[in-house]
């Protein structure tokens, strides 16, 4: 039988909208919680398990792609010192062209372009279940949650301005969202910048993979990271526990 004192934090968290977004933290928190709590957290309810795993990273065979280069003609060599090293790949069967110029190193740009090509092909074949599709879904979801959060904050601010007591704050009608919500889009929202961000995300994934490959033996490091990331949530939980005990 699970003791009541342990259930209270979780029910409270489920009701609170703030922690709903950090529900993933529970998976990480279980590494630092007590044994009893760990048993509770590892129960089979769906929201405790975290999000479903991402589809695997796609790969591509070298025979299907070729490197395309813009024929410049004219000067080059010692006369010109170019800093950008753009790599363009063409997928022979479908004719898809993908380019990357995110880093100063051509080798890194090649890797990024290959990974990008593989993702693009996977996305085209199967938009829903491909890796990029899932990433887009994740982003949309977090954007929706951010919107909700900022709406709620705006409502609270309105209520405070009018000087209402706490219970009535939450019952305020949603205010005009046009001037209260913080802008989430950048002022320079064009295709090149989002492509750059995409390239940087792929670069980070590649670096992560290489790091993992070189450190595959040391598993303690991974646990340390989790603890560092979610100390906030752990503190929140401990605060709640203390408050319940005081009552």
């Amino acid at each position: 039988m699970i003791p009541q004192s342990l259930l209270l934090p979780f029910t409270a968290c489920v009701q609170s909208s703030i922690l709903r977004c950090n529900i993933l933290a529970y998976q990480r928190v279980q590494l630092s919680c007590s044994r009893v709590a760990r048993r509770v957290l590892s129960s089979s309810s769906p929201w405790l398990k975290g999000p479903p795993p991402m589809p695997p990273r796609p790969s591509i065979s070298e025979d299907e792609i070729e490197e395309v280069f813009i024929k410049g003609g004219g000067k080059g060599g010692q006369k010109i010192n170019k800093t950008n090293s753009k790599v363009q790949l063409r997928h022979i069967p479908s004719g898809l062209i993908v380019s990357s110029q995110a880093t100063r190193s051509r080798e890194q740009n090649r890797k990024i372009a290959r990974r990008k090509m593989a993702e693009e092909l996977q996305y085209q074949n199967d938009p829903e279940s491909s890796r990029r599709g899932k990433l887009i879904e994740k982003k949309q979801k977090s954007k929706r949650n951010q919107r909700k959060k900022s709406l709620k904050r705006a409502r609270l601010r309105e209520a405070e301005r009018q000087g209402l007591p706490e219970q009535e704050k939450l019952l305020q009608p949603p205010c005009d969202s046009s001037h209260e919500i913080e802008p989430s889009e950048s002022i320079y929202d064009d295709a090149d910048q989002s492509e750059l961000e995409n390239d940087l995300r792929i670069l980070r994934e590649i670096e992560e993979e290489e790091l993992q490959n070189s450190q595959s033996v040391q598993t303690d490091l991974v646990e340390d990271e989790y603890e560092v990331d979610y100390t906030e949530t752990v503190d929140l939980l401990s605060d709640r526990n203390e408050k319940k005990k005081r009552r």
Partner: protein, 332 residues
């Protein structure tokens, strides 16, 4: 083409550092890219300082010096036209090399990387020294001679690509003492390409006067000699302004006399193959016309780079066809 005011305004809205880069880079995309590289570089360098436990005041001090460095780097790059590699001090090269770049030594170009990798990979794949089960000849060391080495980038590139259990010796020669220092620093910084049976040596010397007869069993001579003609060097339509103002003239102005001397060295050192970077197809014809290459002894051809320009002269001895004949597939 002047930069439109709308572009300047857009750049300023995005970041106060972007407009500094516009005069040299001319458009926002390249400016954004280079600003990111500059910021990453200085942030990484400062990160060690920021990680130290300090009081809040000192942290603020470090932060503002970081911004000042970024501002200065953007100013030098955009308004003065200083090459980015001199500001950041490095240039990624090959698969894993990071070549240190300092004023006074020529910056490695992507064309050099491209043909260097092609030739080195070809050697690794097709040359019998690296592929035969036993050494059929009495040869036990593969000798590469890199003339006018500069930063040592070609020597280190070949070292990186030819790392095997076979013995390889790469020698790099340059006339400049500054280049010698930079090449040695590069070897130290990239020592992961060295091995128990792979060595890279650097020497100072003028290839026109230095006596190289002590090296008698060179397999291949590689070189990126100065090849820009004086006329093209001072022409605004040929040479970039930042190259003319900041890179060493010693490494740039040259001509056919260098190739003539390289082929003479090839004869004295018994070299079996010679691969050099050239300016364009016209210079290739000039080299052949000046009788630098004895066509009874040497097969030669030119290799294109990825921009579609003739970039390299590739030649090998007719009597070394079994070792170097595969070069035929690279030339056109």
């Amino acid at each position: 083409m002047r930069i439109l005011p709308a572009v300047k305004i857009l750049a300023r809205r995005e970041s106060p550092y972007l407009p500094l880069l516009l005069p040299t880079l001319r458009d926002i995309d390249s400016a954004r890219r280079e600003l990111r590289w500059i910021a990453e570089h200085f942030h990484d360098r400062a990160a060690d300082g920021l990680a130290v436990e300090t009081n809040s005041q000192q942290k603020i001090k470090l932060k503002s010096s970081l911004y000042r460095k970024i501002w200065k780097a953007c100013f030098l790059r955009g308004y003065k036209g200083v090459p980015l590699q001199y500001i950041l001090g490095s240039q990624p090269f090959g698969d894993s090399l990071d070549i240190i770049c300092r004023p006074g030594v020529l910056i490695p170009r992507w064309e050099t990387e491209e043909w260097g990798v092609k030739i080195a990979r070809g050697i690794r794949q097709y040359h019998p020294f690296f592929n035969a089960e036993e050494n059929l000849s009495s040869q036990i060391i593969f000798n590469i001679l890199d003339l006018c080495t500069g930063t040592g980038c070609i020597a280190l590139l070949f070292a990186e690509q030819l790392k095997t259990n076979k013995n390889v010796l790469i020698t790099g020669i340059d006339i400049s003492q500054k280049a010698f220092t930079v090449a040695r620093d590069n070897r130290k910084a990239n020592d992961h390409v060295l091995g128990t049976n792979l060595s890279v040596l650097f020497k100072v010397g003028d290839i026109f006067t230095r006596d190289l007869s002590s090296m008698s069993n060179i397999d291949i001579i590689v070189s990126n000699p100065p090849y820009v003609s004086e006329e093209n060097y001072y022409s605004w339509t040929h040479t970039e302004r930042s190259v003319r103002n900041y890179e060493p003239r010693l490494a740039l102005i040259g001509g056919v006399e260098f190739y003539k001397r390289i082929f003479e060295i090839a004869t004295t050192t018994n070299a079996k193959a010679v691969v050099c970077e050239i300016s364009d197809g016209q210079q290739y014809r000039d080299i052949l016309d000046a009788n630098c290459v004895d066509s009874s002894l040497w097969c030669s051809g030119s290799m294109y780079d990825e921009a579609g320009v003739v970039r390299t002269i590739v030649s090998w001895r007719r009597d070394a066809e079994d070792e170097w004949g595969w070069l035929q597939n690279l030339i056109s």
